[in-house]
Amino acid sequence: MRTKRWLALGLLTVTLLLVSCSKDIPQNTMNPAGPTAQTEKNLLVLVLWPAAAVFLIVEGGILLISIKYRHRKGRDRMPAQLHGHTRLEIGWTIAPAIVLAVIMVPTVSTIWQLARQPADAMHVTVQGYQWWWGFQYTDPDMQVGYGDHDPILTADVMVIPVGRTVDLALTSLGGGARTTTGVPDHEVIHSFWAPRLFGKQDVVPGETNHIVFSADTPGVYWGQCAEFCGLQHGRMKFRIRALDEADWQAWVAREKTPATAPTDPLAKQGMDLFLGTGGVGGQCIQCHSIGGTDATGTAAPNLTHFAAATHECFAGCDFETTDTAALRAWLTDPNAVKMGAKMPDYGLTQDQISALMAYLYSLK
């Protein structure tokens, strides 16, 4: 009997170890990489101890009673007819209540602690679209150095400086994404979640929720939409890249610059196709924007620095930016690789796609 209990405890420990120690699980909540996720994990672990105790008492009790009092053949025994025991009842009403009350103390204080928005935080507005994420850097020192000096805008990858507290404002309709008929098309509920950095908050149309977090070490942290938002909910991913101070400054400086026009003839041809300056094409700019050009669409990702090393994935972080085959497939027919994707199939020829790809890869 005792061995069984130790076995159960051992199994539980092994499970917890499996969960917390595996390094190649990029969305592991038990492997936090910032203070917000750490706080949330600590609270769970705190509750797991009394939960494990109750588990052992109740399951062990059921098992013990089942074995000890099981009916044995040939022994016709009528048990004592116990109807109840008031003191016991009061005991097992009050004892769990006390345990729960104790658990709720750190819970409530943490709720309020996580809701605090420090004044010195960096501000990023998160925009949920179907099915990708946009990030707008709204602090005054984060405006681009051209055009109307709009805030820096990225898609799929949010870049942050290590150790700096970030205050995210979550909005479902950020850049005014509208279909051609002017009806908001993308406005559904999402939920923003990077498990190793912070627990999720929903992105609710008409409301603005906040997440406050920071990353302890440089690196890439995965996340994805956690609230069902239609067909491609499962493939609405993003990454957060935390850079050390020098890399961060370099990133900001580059983001502030417009795209440079390519010199390579194929890429030049792609640019003309993209912007419609060569007499053909031009559909791209209805939705996409590229800094320093006529492309100012707001319904789809900003591609100004599409090929920068920090922009490592595209189309809801479904594909690695360096994966040329994926980009070609996407441009050939977005719906074939991601059913329901809002980007239409423009019937581009493979030559046109090669030109567009050359242009996109020139946008460092």
């Binding site: 592991n28 038990m30 994990k41 609270l43 059921i62 009092y69 048990p79 009403t93 939920s191 906040h210």
Partner: protein, 623 residues
């Protein structure tokens, strides 16, 4: 005593059917036992369908980047799996037990409103068929059973309109049934059957009916608003026109959290009947079990926003609902401890009903503990909308409710069919189901903590989630195997000749076992007079001088059931009726009309009105 003279002469336009046997009688029956069987069989068919959908889900998730199902198919299947298991399996299966057993347990001849009972069943069935017809009419609901707008209201496929209409229809069925059963329990108890002599199963039934009666109107309002948003472009949930998406969430969960208790309390009732019988001891702390059930019913209305901790209600609301969620663990714990107290010191007979009941308690505890971690709000920010939650509620609703319902089937099968399910196959089923269940849903705790979100139709290999998903998929097919064992058991059993060597095979405690197996149409020759809790037990046993129980010699009890009367003639029972069926056909027709044509709405309304008129006008008995 009553003579023909005291019964008013039957009046009516159309003659009432009178046959109570033959296949046609199933369409006109108003006998609570037959309706209970109809509920049970329909619910079981939906269980097989919903289970098949679960198998498709697990097949799709068995490997990363799987293309077995595409996003569209997957979203429809997981939505229909949830809707089916909740509204078309667990709820009607519970209704089956309530219908069949409550009148027998309280010593009544039928429910208070027998025709309304038939109406409830047919409306439920047509509501379910209506929902499933969407597969053939442009696509099933695809926005999840929770149907959050604006996604659900702006989705271009027709599925979520079927969702709104279908749930309104099944809601009508549940509301009518709830009123009916509540009135039955309050008004139809046998002499001496005071409230605190009622079996706990009847108590839990009463609580469930009140939960239904008070929670269904809330979701009905929300469903009509969704229907109006989708069909007639109103803006209840449209943020671009001043509507509030969160309005839906509040209304929905204010229904859907009590709904969780609507799903689990019937199983709690069944467990509370089975444990004493197979422990040969009375239920430990009867009043505490009853009052904790009532407390769960009340507090269940005050915890809905724990489904919404991440929607940004603010720290005040999150604190309040975190605390209420922790509080509801207390009455639930009381039940668990009392069940353990019932088993303690007993003479435990591990027949299949007992295995299922103990299994249900053991599995429910795990779901209850993971539920407590949801009350820890900041930790829930991580777990909500992940597979951790999927694991949690399957431990509660499969581990608790489905194990409990199977236990009830094994326990009452002899009562209902006068045949006993094979114990050997029953035990085989139990152990396969227990192992399969834990393999399926245990790893989901880990998957959730490792960052696997709910409702995603596929996941990349890079997330490192493949292994536990494979384990879970294997488990799901073991559950399917255990269900197959049950079906084989049921078919083999029903092929055997009818008749039990012992009409009280479990040495049971409650009134339903005082009548024959299966009970006659009028249930009891004479309405029993009740003197105590566990009436039947006390007719069989008395305590001797040392406080030990000894069996009462046959015929020696001062309140043993009198026999020797004729076979129940002169017992007045209402006759069958086909009007409930007619009236209920009108409802799905109206719903199709809302989708396709106003003419159909008119025709459906006409049929419903004709049905209700016929119902009102028909004679009280067939002549």
């Amino acid at each position: 005593m009553s003579t023909a003279a005291s019964v008013p002469a039957p009046r009516g336009i159309i003659r009432r059917p009178s046959a109570t046997t033959g296949w046609l009688s199933w369409f006109t029956t108003i006998d609570h036992k037959k309706i209970g069987l109809l509920y049970g069989m329909s619910a079981f068919v939906f269980f097989i369908i919903g289970g098949s959908e679960a198998l498709l889900i697990r097949a799709q998730l068995a490997k990363p980047d799987n293309t077995l199902l595409n996003a569209d198919q997957y979203n429809q299947i997981f939505t229909m799996h949830g809707l089916t298991m909740i509204f078309l399996f667990v709820m009607p299966m519970s209704a089956a037990f309530f219908n069949y057993l409550i009148p027998l347990m309280i010593g009544a001849r039928d429910v208070a409103f027998p025709r309304l009972n038939a109406f409830s069943y047919w409306v439920f069935l047509f509501g379910g068929l209506f929902l499933y017809s969407s597969w053939f009419l442009g696509g099933a609901p695809n926005g999840g059973w929770f149907g959050y707008p604006p996604n659900s209201t702006t989705d271009p496929s027709i599925g979520m309109t079927f969702y709104a209409l279908g749930l309104i229809i099944t809601g009508i069925a549940s509301s009518a049934g709830a009123i009916n059963l509540a009135v039955t329990v309050v008004n139809m108890r046998a002499p001496g059957m005071t409230l605190f002599r009622m079996p706990v199963f009847v108590w839990m039934g009463l609580v469930v009916q009140f939960l239904l009666a008070f929670s269904l109107p809330i979701v009905t309002v929300a469903l009509f608003e969704m229907l109006f948003d989708r069909r007639w472009q109103t803006h209840f949930f449209d943020p671009t026109a001043g509507g509030k998406p969160l309005l839906w969430q509040n209304l929905f969960w204010l229904f859907a959290h009590p709904e969780v208790y609507i799903l689990i309390l019937p199983a709690f009732g069944i467990i509370s009947e089975i444990l004493p019988v197979f422990s040969r001891k009375p239920l430990f702390g009867y009043q505490f079990v009853v009052f904790s059930g009532i407390a769960i019913g009340f507090i269940g209305f005050g915890v809905w926003a724990h489904h919404m901790f991440a929607v940004g209600l603010g720290p005040t609301a999150n604190t309040a609902f975190g605390i209420t969620t922790a509080i509801i663990a207390v009455p639930t714990g009381i039940k668990i401890f009392n069940w353990m107290g019932t088993m303690y010191g007993g003479d435990l007979h591990f027949d299949t009903p007992m295995l299922m009941a103990v299994g249900a308690v053991a599995m429910f505890v795990i779901g209850g503990l993971s539920g407590v971690t949801h009350a820890v709000v900041p930790s829930d920010y991580q777990q909500t909308d992940t597979y951790y939650v999927v694991a949690h509620f399957h431990y509660v609703l499969f581990g608790g409710a489905v194990f409990g319902l199977f236990g009830g089937m094994y326990y009452w099968w002899p009562k209902i069919f006068a045949r006993q399910l094979s114990e050997r196959l029953g035990k085989v089923q139990f152990w396969i189901m227990l192992v399969g269940f834990n393999l399926t849903f245990g790893p989901m705790h880990i998957l959730g903590l490792e960052g696997m979100i709910r409702r995603e139709y596929t996941y990349p290999a890079a997330l490192g989630l493949t292994f536990w998903n494979q384990v879970s998929s294997v488990g799901a097919y073991l559950i399917a195997l255990s269900t197959l064992v049950f079906i084989v058991n049921a078919v083999k059993t029903q092929r055997k000749p009818k008749g039990l060597a012992n009409e009280d095979p479990w040495d049971a405690r409650t009134l339903e076992w005082t009548t024959s197996c299966p009970p006659p149409v009028y249930n009891f020759e004479e309405i029993p007079v009740v003197h105590s809790l566990d009436e039947f037990w006390h007719r069989k046993y008395v305590e001797d001088k040392e406080g030990r129980l000894v069996r009462v010699p046959a015929g020696a009890s001062d309140h043993a059931a009198a026999d020797g009367h004729g076979a129940g003639h002169a017992i007045h029972l209402p006759s069958p009726s086909f009007w409930p069926l007619v009236a209920s056909i009108g409802l799905p027709m109206i719903a199709y009309g809302v989708l396709y044509s106003w003419w159909l709405v008119g025709a459906g309304a006409l049929i419903a009105i004709v049905g209700f008129m016929g119902w009102a006008m028909e004679p009280s008995v067939a002549d």
